[in-house]
Amino acid sequence: MLIDHPILGPRDASEFVYKGDANLIHRPDWQAEDAAAQFFEYGYLRDNPAGPHRELWFHEQGDRSWLVVTRDTRTHEITKVELARDVARREGRSK
Protein backbone atom coordinates (compact mmCIF):
# COMPACT_ATOMS: atom_id res chain seq x y z
CA MET A 1 0.00 0.00 0.00
CA LEU A 2 1.10 3.56 -0.74
CA ILE A 3 0.02 6.36 1.58
CA ASP A 4 -0.12 9.77 -0.07
CA HIS A 5 1.41 11.83 2.73
CA PRO A 6 0.05 15.43 2.64
CA ILE A 7 3.57 16.86 3.04
CA LEU A 8 5.92 14.20 1.66
CA GLY A 9 3.87 12.70 -1.15
CA PRO A 10 3.38 8.95 -1.75
CA ARG A 11 5.22 6.80 0.82
CA ASP A 12 5.33 3.03 1.28
CA ALA A 13 2.93 1.95 4.08
CA SER A 14 5.75 -0.08 5.66
CA GLU A 15 7.34 3.22 6.78
CA PHE A 16 4.33 3.73 9.05
CA VAL A 17 3.03 2.16 12.23
CA TYR A 18 -0.68 1.46 12.39
CA LYS A 19 -2.37 2.93 15.46
CA GLY A 20 -6.01 2.00 15.00
CA ASP A 21 -9.37 3.74 14.66
CA ALA A 22 -9.06 7.54 14.25
CA ASN A 23 -11.74 8.07 16.90
CA LEU A 24 -8.90 7.50 19.36
CA ILE A 25 -8.13 11.20 18.79
CA HIS A 26 -11.07 11.94 21.07
CA ARG A 27 -9.83 10.92 24.50
CA PRO A 28 -12.65 11.18 27.07
CA ASP A 29 -12.69 13.77 29.85
CA TRP A 30 -11.14 12.11 32.89
CA GLN A 31 -13.19 14.34 35.19
CA ALA A 32 -16.55 13.34 33.71
CA GLU A 33 -19.09 11.63 35.99
CA ASP A 34 -18.96 8.45 33.93
CA ALA A 35 -15.24 8.63 33.09
CA ALA A 36 -14.64 4.94 33.89
CA ALA A 37 -17.34 3.81 31.47
CA GLN A 38 -16.15 6.25 28.80
CA PHE A 39 -12.55 5.11 29.12
CA PHE A 40 -13.62 1.46 28.86
CA GLU A 41 -15.34 2.21 25.56
CA TYR A 42 -12.44 4.37 24.40
CA GLY A 43 -9.80 1.83 25.34
CA TYR A 44 -11.46 -1.40 24.32
CA LEU A 45 -14.48 -1.17 22.03
CA ARG A 46 -14.14 -0.63 18.27
CA ASP A 47 -16.56 -0.15 15.37
CA ASN A 48 -14.34 -2.37 13.16
CA PRO A 49 -16.35 -1.72 9.97
CA ALA A 50 -16.12 -3.65 6.71
CA GLY A 51 -15.83 -0.69 4.36
CA PRO A 52 -14.40 2.83 4.67
CA HIS A 53 -12.43 3.18 7.91
CA ARG A 54 -10.75 6.29 9.29
CA GLU A 55 -7.53 5.25 10.99
CA LEU A 56 -4.33 6.60 12.50
CA TRP A 57 -0.97 5.90 10.88
CA PHE A 58 2.25 7.16 12.52
CA HIS A 59 5.14 7.92 10.14
CA GLU A 60 7.76 6.36 12.38
CA GLN A 61 10.35 5.78 9.64
CA GLY A 62 9.76 9.23 8.18
CA ASP A 63 8.82 12.66 9.51
CA ARG A 64 7.09 11.21 12.61
CA SER A 65 3.80 12.90 11.76
CA TRP A 66 0.46 11.31 12.60
CA LEU A 67 -1.99 10.88 9.74
CA VAL A 68 -5.69 10.12 9.48
CA VAL A 69 -6.05 7.74 6.54
CA THR A 70 -9.45 6.80 5.12
CA ARG A 71 -9.11 3.28 3.74
CA ASP A 72 -11.58 0.63 2.64
CA THR A 73 -10.99 -2.46 4.79
CA ARG A 74 -12.46 -4.73 2.08
CA THR A 75 -10.12 -3.61 -0.71
CA HIS A 76 -7.28 -1.70 1.06
CA GLU A 77 -8.02 1.26 -1.26
CA ILE A 78 -6.98 4.58 0.32
CA THR A 79 -9.31 7.46 -0.54
CA LYS A 80 -8.15 10.28 1.76
CA VAL A 81 -5.05 11.19 3.78
CA GLU A 82 -4.91 14.13 6.20
CA LEU A 83 -2.62 15.28 8.97
CA ALA A 84 -4.11 14.08 12.25
CA ARG A 85 -3.41 17.54 13.71
CA ASP A 86 -5.72 19.18 11.15
CA VAL A 87 -8.45 16.61 11.76
CA ALA A 88 -8.22 17.00 15.53
CA ARG A 89 -8.46 20.80 15.36
CA ARG A 90 -11.35 20.67 12.92
CA GLU A 91 -13.18 18.32 15.26
CA GLY A 92 -12.81 20.61 18.24
CA ARG A 93 -9.51 19.70 19.89
CA SER A 94 -7.59 22.81 21.00
CA LYS A 95 -4.10 21.32 20.62
Binding site: Y18, G43, E55, T73, R74, T75
Partner: protein
Protein backbone atom coordinates in the same frame (compact mmCIF):
# COMPACT_ATOMS: atom_id res chain seq x y z
CA UNK B 1 -22.12 -45.21 7.17
CA UNK B 2 -19.10 -46.18 9.28
CA UNK B 3 -15.69 -45.71 7.73
CA UNK B 4 -13.13 -48.45 8.19
CA UNK B 5 -10.18 -50.07 6.47
CA UNK B 6 -12.47 -52.92 5.46
CA UNK B 7 -14.89 -50.45 3.86
CA UNK B 8 -12.07 -48.80 1.87
CA UNK B 9 -10.95 -52.18 0.48
CA UNK B 10 -14.53 -53.20 -0.28
CA UNK B 11 -15.18 -49.97 -2.15
CA UNK B 12 -11.91 -50.29 -4.05
CA UNK B 13 -13.17 -53.62 -5.38
CA UNK B 14 -16.57 -52.18 -6.34
CA UNK B 15 -15.55 -49.05 -8.23
CA UNK B 16 -16.19 -46.74 -5.27
CA UNK B 17 -19.91 -46.69 -6.02
CA UNK B 18 -20.93 -47.26 -2.39
CA UNK B 19 -19.85 -43.95 -0.87
CA UNK B 20 -22.69 -41.61 0.04
CA UNK B 21 -22.59 -37.91 0.93
CA UNK B 22 -20.98 -37.34 4.35
CA UNK B 23 -23.82 -35.06 5.47
CA UNK B 24 -27.30 -34.06 4.29
CA UNK B 25 -27.90 -30.82 2.40
CA UNK B 26 -30.53 -29.64 4.90
CA UNK B 27 -33.15 -26.98 4.20
CA UNK B 28 -33.96 -24.65 7.09
CA UNK B 29 -36.95 -25.50 9.32
CA UNK B 30 -39.04 -22.66 10.74
CA UNK B 31 -37.58 -22.95 14.22
CA UNK B 32 -34.98 -24.75 16.30
CA UNK B 33 -33.88 -24.95 19.90
CA UNK B 34 -30.39 -23.80 18.95
CA UNK B 35 -29.25 -21.87 15.91
CA UNK B 36 -25.48 -21.66 15.55
CA UNK B 37 -24.31 -18.93 13.18
CA UNK B 38 -21.15 -19.99 11.39
CA UNK B 39 -20.34 -23.41 9.92
CA UNK B 40 -16.61 -23.27 10.56
CA UNK B 41 -14.71 -25.64 12.78
CA UNK B 42 -15.91 -24.03 16.00
CA UNK B 43 -19.58 -23.86 14.96
CA UNK B 44 -19.66 -27.46 13.78
CA UNK B 45 -17.84 -28.68 16.90
CA UNK B 46 -20.33 -26.74 19.04
CA UNK B 47 -23.24 -28.43 17.28
CA UNK B 48 -21.64 -31.85 17.61
CA UNK B 49 -20.95 -31.55 21.35
CA UNK B 50 -24.38 -30.01 22.00
CA UNK B 51 -25.95 -33.07 20.43
CA UNK B 52 -23.61 -35.68 21.88
CA UNK B 53 -22.53 -34.45 25.32
CA UNK B 54 -25.60 -32.47 26.30
CA UNK B 55 -28.26 -34.55 24.56
CA UNK B 56 -29.73 -31.57 22.78
CA UNK B 57 -31.67 -31.88 19.55
CA UNK B 58 -33.25 -29.49 17.05
CA UNK B 59 -29.96 -27.78 16.26
CA UNK B 60 -29.10 -25.86 13.08
CA UNK B 61 -25.74 -24.60 11.87
CA UNK B 62 -26.04 -21.71 9.40
CA UNK B 63 -23.16 -21.13 7.02
CA UNK B 64 -23.11 -18.20 4.58
CA UNK B 65 -20.81 -20.02 2.14
CA UNK B 66 -19.89 -23.68 2.21
CA UNK B 67 -18.55 -25.88 4.98
CA UNK B 68 -14.77 -25.58 5.25
CA UNK B 69 -14.54 -22.44 3.10
CA UNK B 70 -13.57 -20.01 5.84
CA UNK B 71 -10.78 -19.89 8.37
CA UNK B 72 -10.93 -23.63 9.12
CA UNK B 73 -9.59 -24.12 5.59
CA UNK B 74 -7.12 -21.21 5.71
CA UNK B 75 -5.03 -21.83 8.82
CA UNK B 76 -1.65 -23.54 9.13
CA UNK B 77 -3.07 -26.62 10.94
CA UNK B 78 -0.97 -26.54 14.10
CA UNK B 79 -2.16 -27.92 17.44
CA UNK B 80 -0.41 -27.23 20.75
CA UNK B 81 -1.11 -26.24 24.35
CA UNK B 82 1.98 -24.19 25.19
CA UNK B 83 0.34 -21.25 26.92
CA UNK B 84 1.34 -19.64 30.18
CA UNK B 85 -1.65 -17.80 31.64
CA UNK B 86 -3.95 -19.62 34.06
CA UNK B 87 -6.99 -18.54 32.06
CA UNK B 88 -5.60 -20.15 28.91
CA UNK B 89 -3.47 -23.21 29.65
CA UNK B 90 -6.18 -25.55 31.06
CA UNK B 91 -8.40 -24.67 28.10
CA UNK B 92 -5.77 -25.45 25.46
CA UNK B 93 -4.63 -28.60 27.25
CA UNK B 94 -8.25 -29.80 27.31
CA UNK B 95 -8.35 -29.06 23.59
CA UNK B 96 -5.17 -31.05 22.94
CA UNK B 97 -6.63 -34.02 24.82
CA UNK B 98 -9.74 -33.85 22.64
CA UNK B 99 -7.53 -33.75 19.53
CA UNK B 100 -5.81 -36.93 20.75
CA UNK B 101 -9.10 -38.83 20.73
CA UNK B 102 -10.77 -36.98 17.86
CA UNK B 103 -10.48 -39.50 15.06
CA UNK B 104 -11.91 -42.39 17.07
CA UNK B 105 -14.60 -40.09 18.43
CA UNK B 106 -15.69 -38.91 14.97
CA UNK B 107 -14.82 -42.09 13.03
CA UNK B 108 -13.01 -39.80 10.62
CA UNK B 109 -9.38 -39.67 9.56
CA UNK B 110 -8.33 -36.13 10.48
CA UNK B 111 -4.64 -37.02 10.16
CA UNK B 112 -3.84 -35.92 13.70
CA UNK B 113 -0.05 -36.06 13.81
CA UNK B 114 1.69 -35.41 17.14
CA UNK B 115 5.05 -34.70 15.56
CA UNK B 116 6.03 -32.14 18.22
CA UNK B 117 6.38 -28.38 18.27
CA UNK B 118 9.56 -26.49 19.13
CA UNK B 119 9.83 -22.80 20.17
CA UNK B 120 13.35 -21.53 19.60
CA UNK B 121 15.34 -19.67 22.29
CA UNK B 122 17.98 -17.03 21.45
CA UNK B 123 18.90 -15.32 24.72
CA UNK B 124 19.15 -15.87 28.48
CA UNK B 125 16.07 -13.72 29.06
CA UNK B 126 14.07 -15.70 26.57
CA UNK B 127 15.26 -18.95 28.17
CA UNK B 128 14.02 -17.72 31.56
CA UNK B 129 10.64 -16.82 30.06
CA UNK B 130 10.32 -20.19 28.30
CA UNK B 131 11.37 -22.14 31.40
CA UNK B 132 8.64 -20.33 33.27
CA UNK B 133 6.13 -21.08 30.55
CA UNK B 134 7.16 -24.74 30.45
CA UNK B 135 6.70 -24.99 34.22
CA UNK B 136 3.27 -23.34 33.97
CA UNK B 137 2.32 -25.87 31.31
CA UNK B 138 3.47 -28.82 33.43
CA UNK B 139 1.56 -27.52 36.44
CA UNK B 140 -1.56 -27.87 34.33
CA UNK B 141 -0.69 -31.39 33.21
CA UNK B 142 0.70 -30.56 29.77
CA UNK B 143 4.10 -31.78 28.56
CA UNK B 144 7.03 -29.43 28.05
CA UNK B 145 10.74 -30.10 27.72
CA UNK B 146 13.64 -27.69 27.56
CA UNK B 147 15.93 -28.70 24.69
CA UNK B 148 19.64 -27.95 24.25
CA UNK B 149 21.02 -26.80 20.90
CA UNK B 150 22.62 -30.26 20.47
CA UNK B 151 19.28 -32.00 21.02
CA UNK B 152 17.65 -29.64 18.53
CA UNK B 153 20.34 -30.27 15.92
CA UNK B 154 19.85 -34.02 16.27
CA UNK B 155 16.27 -33.63 15.04
CA UNK B 156 16.71 -30.54 12.82
CA UNK B 157 20.30 -30.65 11.47
CA UNK B 158 19.60 -28.00 8.82
CA UNK B 159 18.91 -25.15 11.27
CA UNK B 160 21.30 -22.21 11.17
CA UNK B 161 22.21 -22.03 14.88
CA UNK B 162 24.85 -19.33 14.35
CA UNK B 163 22.68 -16.55 12.97
CA UNK B 164 24.35 -13.27 14.00
CA UNK B 165 21.22 -11.61 15.36
CA UNK B 166 19.31 -14.63 16.69
CA UNK B 167 21.71 -17.52 17.41
CA UNK B 168 19.79 -20.60 18.55
CA UNK B 169 20.54 -21.27 22.21
CA UNK B 170 17.93 -23.94 22.86
CA UNK B 171 14.22 -24.43 22.65
CA UNK B 172 11.04 -25.34 24.47
CA UNK B 173 9.46 -28.45 23.01
CA UNK B 174 5.96 -29.81 23.39
CA UNK B 175 6.15 -33.31 21.98
CA UNK B 176 2.38 -33.80 22.01
CA UNK B 177 1.86 -30.79 19.73
CA UNK B 178 1.71 -31.25 15.98
CA UNK B 179 -0.57 -30.82 12.99
CA UNK B 180 -4.02 -31.92 11.83
CA UNK B 181 -5.58 -31.99 8.37
CA UNK B 182 -7.71 -28.85 8.76
CA UNK B 183 -10.38 -29.56 6.13
CA UNK B 184 -10.94 -32.99 7.63
CA UNK B 185 -11.73 -31.36 10.97
CA UNK B 186 -14.59 -29.43 9.38
CA UNK B 187 -15.78 -32.45 7.42
CA UNK B 188 -15.43 -34.83 10.37
CA UNK B 189 -17.41 -32.62 12.73
CA UNK B 190 -20.01 -31.89 10.04
CA UNK B 191 -20.52 -35.58 9.34
CA UNK B 192 -20.67 -36.52 13.03
CA UNK B 193 -23.07 -33.66 13.86
CA UNK B 194 -25.29 -34.52 10.89
CA UNK B 195 -25.43 -38.13 12.04
CA UNK B 196 -26.86 -36.89 15.33
CA UNK B 197 -29.58 -34.94 13.55
CA UNK B 198 -28.01 -31.48 13.30
CA UNK B 199 -29.20 -29.52 10.24
CA UNK B 200 -26.20 -28.05 8.41
CA UNK B 201 -27.58 -25.28 6.22
CA UNK B 202 -25.15 -23.87 3.68
CA UNK B 203 -25.46 -20.71 1.54
CA UNK B 204 -27.54 -19.18 4.31
CA UNK B 205 -26.28 -15.79 5.47
CA UNK B 206 -27.65 -14.14 8.61
CA UNK B 207 -28.87 -10.63 7.80
CA UNK B 208 -30.34 -9.67 11.17
CA UNK B 209 -31.55 -10.82 14.57
CA UNK B 210 -35.18 -11.17 15.56
CA UNK B 211 -35.70 -9.40 18.89
CA UNK B 212 -38.88 -9.61 20.97
CA UNK B 213 -39.14 -7.75 24.29
CA UNK B 214 -35.39 -7.42 24.48
CA UNK B 215 -34.83 -11.10 23.86
CA UNK B 216 -33.26 -12.69 20.81
CA UNK B 217 -35.77 -15.18 19.39
CA UNK B 218 -34.26 -16.01 16.04
CA UNK B 219 -32.42 -14.78 12.99
CA UNK B 220 -33.29 -13.24 9.63
CA UNK B 221 -31.41 -14.98 6.85
CA UNK B 222 -31.12 -15.04 3.08
CA UNK B 223 -33.24 -18.21 3.30
CA UNK B 224 -35.99 -16.72 5.49
CA UNK B 225 -36.61 -16.18 9.16
CA UNK B 226 -35.53 -18.95 11.49
CA UNK B 227 -36.75 -18.99 15.08
CA UNK B 228 -34.58 -20.23 17.93
CA UNK B 229 -34.68 -20.49 21.70
CA UNK B 230 -30.97 -19.72 21.74
CA UNK B 231 -28.85 -18.06 19.05
CA UNK B 232 -25.11 -18.69 19.11
CA UNK B 233 -22.75 -16.44 17.13
CA UNK B 234 -19.59 -18.27 16.06
CA UNK B 235 -18.09 -16.33 13.16
CA UNK B 236 -14.58 -15.30 14.24
CA UNK B 237 -13.13 -12.93 11.63
CA UNK B 238 -16.52 -11.34 10.99
CA UNK B 239 -17.71 -11.05 14.59
CA UNK B 240 -18.01 -7.25 14.56
CA UNK B 241 -20.03 -7.29 11.34
CA UNK B 242 -22.47 -9.83 12.74
CA UNK B 243 -22.86 -8.45 16.25
CA UNK B 244 -23.35 -4.92 14.91
CA UNK B 245 -26.72 -6.22 13.68
CA UNK B 246 -27.57 -6.75 17.37
CA UNK B 247 -26.30 -3.27 18.23
CA UNK B 248 -23.11 -4.50 19.89
CA UNK B 249 -19.59 -3.06 19.64
CA UNK B 250 -16.89 -5.58 20.42
CA UNK B 251 -13.38 -5.42 21.88
CA UNK B 252 -12.14 -6.74 18.53
CA UNK B 253 -10.44 -5.56 15.34
CA UNK B 254 -10.46 -7.70 12.18
CA UNK B 255 -7.00 -8.24 10.73
CA UNK B 256 -5.59 -10.25 7.83
CA UNK B 257 -3.15 -13.08 8.50
CA UNK B 258 -1.20 -14.55 5.59
CA UNK B 259 0.03 -18.11 5.11
CA UNK B 260 2.27 -19.76 2.56
CA UNK B 261 3.03 -23.18 1.14
CA UNK B 262 6.01 -24.28 -0.93
CA UNK B 263 6.06 -26.85 -3.70
CA UNK B 264 5.94 -30.45 -2.49
CA UNK B 265 9.26 -31.79 -1.19
CA UNK B 266 10.48 -35.09 0.20
CA UNK B 267 10.25 -35.25 4.01
CA UNK B 268 12.71 -32.71 5.41
CA UNK B 269 10.98 -31.20 8.42
CA UNK B 270 9.87 -33.78 11.01
CA UNK B 271 8.11 -31.37 13.41
CA UNK B 272 6.79 -27.86 13.82
CA UNK B 273 9.34 -25.07 14.39
CA UNK B 274 8.46 -21.60 15.61
CA UNK B 275 10.96 -18.76 15.39
CA UNK B 276 8.99 -16.11 17.26
CA UNK B 277 11.82 -13.60 17.39
CA UNK B 278 11.98 -13.61 13.58
CA UNK B 279 8.21 -13.79 12.96
CA UNK B 280 8.31 -17.19 11.28
CA UNK B 281 6.99 -20.71 11.88
CA UNK B 282 6.93 -23.74 9.66
CA UNK B 283 5.78 -27.33 9.34
CA UNK B 284 5.66 -29.79 6.46
CA UNK B 285 2.34 -31.11 5.26
CA UNK B 286 1.83 -34.78 4.51
CA UNK B 287 1.71 -33.83 0.81
CA UNK B 288 5.23 -32.44 1.20
CA UNK B 289 4.66 -28.69 1.05
CA UNK B 290 6.38 -26.53 3.63
CA UNK B 291 3.53 -24.65 5.31
CA UNK B 292 4.66 -21.43 6.94
CA UNK B 293 3.60 -18.04 8.17
CA UNK B 294 4.44 -15.18 10.47
CA UNK B 295 2.84 -12.01 11.75
CA UNK B 296 -0.50 -10.48 10.86
CA UNK B 297 -0.32 -7.58 8.40
CA UNK B 298 -1.22 -5.24 11.23
CA UNK B 299 -4.09 -3.05 9.99
CA UNK B 300 -7.85 -3.58 9.95
CA UNK B 301 -8.81 -5.72 6.98
CA UNK B 302 -11.62 -7.90 5.71
CA UNK B 303 -9.87 -8.49 2.38
CA UNK B 304 -8.68 -12.13 2.82
CA UNK B 305 -5.44 -11.12 1.13
CA UNK B 306 -2.39 -9.35 2.47
CA UNK B 307 0.42 -7.17 1.21
CA UNK B 308 4.02 -7.77 0.15
CA UNK B 309 5.95 -6.27 3.11
CA UNK B 310 4.74 -9.12 5.34
CA UNK B 311 5.58 -11.68 2.65
CA UNK B 312 9.12 -10.30 2.64
CA UNK B 313 9.29 -10.24 6.46
CA UNK B 314 8.13 -13.85 6.78
CA UNK B 315 10.49 -15.14 4.10
CA UNK B 316 13.43 -13.23 5.61
CA UNK B 317 12.69 -14.84 8.96
CA UNK B 318 12.59 -18.24 7.33
CA UNK B 319 15.86 -17.75 5.48
CA UNK B 320 17.60 -16.58 8.67
CA UNK B 321 17.28 -19.91 10.50
CA UNK B 322 16.25 -22.25 7.72
CA UNK B 323 18.53 -21.37 4.76
CA UNK B 324 17.54 -24.40 2.68
CA UNK B 325 14.08 -22.86 2.41
CA UNK B 326 15.53 -20.64 -0.33
CA UNK B 327 15.81 -23.67 -2.63
CA UNK B 328 12.07 -24.28 -2.55
CA UNK B 329 9.65 -22.36 -4.72
CA UNK B 330 6.63 -20.73 -3.19
CA UNK B 331 3.54 -22.47 -4.50
CA UNK B 332 0.66 -20.55 -2.96
CA UNK B 333 -0.04 -17.78 -0.50
CA UNK B 334 -3.35 -16.64 0.92
CA UNK B 335 -4.91 -14.60 3.68
CA UNK B 336 -7.59 -15.14 6.29
CA UNK B 337 -9.47 -12.58 8.35
CA UNK B 338 -9.09 -13.02 12.09
CA UNK B 339 -10.74 -11.41 15.12
CA UNK B 340 -7.88 -9.71 16.98
CA UNK B 341 -9.10 -9.10 20.51
CA UNK B 342 -7.80 -6.44 22.86
CA UNK B 343 -5.78 -8.84 25.01
CA UNK B 344 -5.01 -11.56 22.48
CA UNK B 345 -7.41 -14.06 24.08
CA UNK B 346 -10.85 -15.27 23.01
CA UNK B 347 -14.38 -14.69 24.31
CA UNK B 348 -16.96 -17.42 24.98
CA UNK B 349 -19.81 -15.79 26.86
CA UNK B 350 -23.44 -14.76 27.06
CA UNK B 351 -24.21 -11.30 25.73
CA UNK B 352 -26.31 -8.69 27.54
CA UNK B 353 -29.19 -9.78 25.28
CA UNK B 354 -31.12 -12.82 26.55
CA UNK B 355 -30.97 -15.72 24.15
CA UNK B 356 -27.90 -14.43 22.30
CA UNK B 357 -24.47 -15.98 22.90
CA UNK B 358 -21.04 -15.17 21.55
CA UNK B 359 -17.88 -17.10 20.62
CA UNK B 360 -15.05 -15.21 18.92
CA UNK B 361 -11.88 -13.19 19.33
CA UNK B 362 -9.64 -16.16 18.49
CA UNK B 363 -6.89 -13.99 17.07
CA UNK B 364 -4.52 -16.09 14.92
CA UNK B 365 -4.91 -19.18 17.13
CA UNK B 366 -8.41 -20.51 16.67
CA UNK B 367 -7.65 -23.76 14.89
CA UNK B 368 -5.96 -25.55 17.79
CA UNK B 369 -8.84 -24.48 20.01
CA UNK B 370 -11.56 -25.98 17.81
CA UNK B 371 -12.56 -29.01 19.95
CA UNK B 372 -12.41 -27.23 23.32
CA UNK B 373 -14.12 -24.14 21.92
CA UNK B 374 -16.99 -26.29 20.65
CA UNK B 375 -17.18 -28.24 23.91
CA UNK B 376 -17.10 -25.16 26.16
CA UNK B 377 -19.56 -23.25 23.97
CA UNK B 378 -21.95 -26.20 23.93
CA UNK B 379 -21.70 -26.33 27.73
CA UNK B 380 -22.50 -22.62 27.99
CA UNK B 381 -25.44 -22.93 25.58
CA UNK B 382 -26.92 -26.00 27.26
CA UNK B 383 -26.44 -24.98 30.89
CA UNK B 384 -26.09 -21.18 30.80
CA UNK B 385 -22.92 -21.58 32.83
CA UNK B 386 -19.35 -21.43 31.47
CA UNK B 387 -17.43 -24.68 31.33
CA UNK B 388 -14.77 -24.78 34.06
CA UNK B 389 -11.95 -24.53 31.50
CA UNK B 390 -13.40 -21.39 29.92
CA UNK B 391 -14.46 -19.27 32.89
CA UNK B 392 -11.94 -16.53 32.10
CA UNK B 393 -13.20 -15.88 28.54
CA UNK B 394 -15.74 -13.28 29.64
CA UNK B 395 -16.83 -10.08 27.95
CA UNK B 396 -16.46 -8.04 31.12
CA UNK B 397 -12.81 -8.89 31.73
CA UNK B 398 -11.78 -5.68 29.95
CA UNK B 399 -13.89 -3.56 32.29
CA UNK B 400 -12.69 -5.40 35.36
CA UNK B 401 -8.99 -5.46 34.55
CA UNK B 402 -8.92 -9.26 34.24
CA UNK B 403 -7.24 -9.41 30.83
CA UNK B 404 -5.54 -12.62 29.70
CA UNK B 405 -2.62 -10.98 27.97
CA UNK B 406 -0.11 -13.75 27.09
CA UNK B 407 2.30 -11.28 25.49
CA UNK B 408 1.75 -8.32 27.81
CA UNK B 409 1.05 -5.96 24.92
CA UNK B 410 -2.02 -4.13 26.23
CA UNK B 411 -4.99 -3.06 24.13
CA UNK B 412 -3.10 -2.94 20.80
CA UNK B 413 -4.64 -5.79 18.79
CA UNK B 414 -1.97 -5.71 16.08
CA UNK B 415 0.77 -6.42 18.63
CA UNK B 416 -0.65 -9.66 20.07
Amino acid sequence: MRYSGFKVIREALHGHRGWGPAWRDAAPASDYDYVIIGGGGHGLATAYYLAKEFGESRIAVLEKGWIGGGNVGRNTTIIRSNYERDGNEPFYEFSLKLWEGLEQELNYNAMVSQRGILNLIHSDAQRDAFVRRGNAMRLHGADAELMSTEQILAKYPFLNVDNARFPIKGGLAQHRGGTVRHDAVAWGYARAADARGVDIIQNCEVTGFRMENGRCTGVETTRGTIGAKKVAACVAGSSSRLMEKAGMRLPIESHVLQAFVSEGLKPVLPGVITFGAGHFYCSQSDKGGLVFGGDIDGYNSYAQRGNLPVVEDVCEGGMAIFPMLGRARLLRMWGGVVDMSMDGSPIIDRTHIDGLYFNGGWCYGGFKATPASGFAYAHLLATDRPHEIATAYRFDRFQKGLMIDEKGMGNQPNLH
